[in-house]
Symmetry: C2
Subunit: 202 residues, 2 copies
């Protein structure tokens, strides 16, 4: 596809780098912005840049947060002895949207993946282990997508967590289809799998 303007070409090229956006869609989006008020484009550009450059993470759970402590960790009404371990903040958003969970979270920031060169030290595992004695944690729910990498990560964590014999370890209940990504699960299934989590035998 050739474009009559380098400006259009650059905009289309940058948009088409986003996942799931082809060049034809990118062109539609570009021409949509071109037809809209200039304010629409500046609002979009500024929101993206501000988000990327000013984002910070919760120092306790590594969830995204505009403050040092995220709103979930700061909420005294939540059960801080119950920690749900997820790989990604998308999972936090998905579980929060079920309205079924009252504990707190720990975001690993990925899963162990030898192919992508992601090892345990690249994940927020150390901070989870130091957090357990500090915060009097009683139960850890492993809510990691049941993919191969996810299972490897859960297995690794289970082993590590053996050094805390008083902490119960559970995994979210069956209900998530095998090989399925957590974030695609509907809210009822996901909510149920949290409530009916199965306690893991150590």
């Amino acid at each position: 596809m050739e474009f009559p303007s380098k400006l259009i070409e650059n905009a289309v090229g940058e948009l088409a780098k986003l996942p799931g956006i082809g060049r034809k869609t990118a062109l539609r989006l570009t021409l949509h912005l071109l037809k809209s008020e200039t304010e629409a484009t500046s609002a979009l550009a500024e929101a993206l840049a501000k988000m990327r450059f000013e984002i910070t993470y919760c120092q306790t759970c590594h969830n995204i947060s505009d403050t040092e402590e995220c709103s979930i960790c700061a909420n005294k009404l939540r059960d801080h002895s119950l920690v749900c371990v997820v790989s990604d903040i998308r999972d936090v958003i998905a579980i929060e949207n079920t309205g079924q969970y009252q504990g707190v979270y720990h975001v690993l920031g990925g899963v162990i993946s030898p192919i992508e060169g992601i090892g345990p030290s690249d994940l927020h595992i150390d901070t989870l282990l130091t957090r357990i004695p500090e915060s009097e944690i009683k139960e850890i729910i492993l809510a990691i997508s049941p993919t191969m990498e996810g299972d490897t990560t859960a297995f690794f964590l289970s082993r590590k967590l053996r050094e805390f014999p008083d902490v119960h370890i559970s995994t979210i209940a069956r209900g998530i289809p095998m090989g399925g990504e957590l974030e695609y699960a509907d809210e009822i299934t996901l909510g149920r799998s949290i409530v009916e989590r199965t306690r893991q035998v150590k």
Copy 2:
């Protein structure tokens, strides 16, 4: 859907204003940018803002152009006596991609639509009429999507063009499905409909 950060919420909100992008997709795109290098986001934000604020249009054909005269109008090898009238620059790009057309263009900037309050004076019709005697135009191809508004616009133009009895008027050939949008046509159908255009009886 609730977000743990206003920055994320704003980015998702702005992306979700784009046509065909829902909030779930917007969140995926936002988190993708968050995981990528900061440069990816600044390149995207800058490309969009630059495109929107610096874009200019060809003074002859109203195509998008980085210069006063677009690359098509400036090309001496093209047939300047043959003008293809389209509603939108998307149509220019689509026809150019067929590689079947060697004339020049005239971009109306829309179609007559009483419902949307777009009348003939809102389109680049005057400049088309002044262009005809100035540029020794011999044929005008009406390549407007065969929708109700498109047909109204083509009909209006045909009437206006009666004042130039020496200029042939043609419409792109059947092949574009009725009610179909030009830009969605595949390249072969669209290319063929240009080559086999039917001359209109005045």
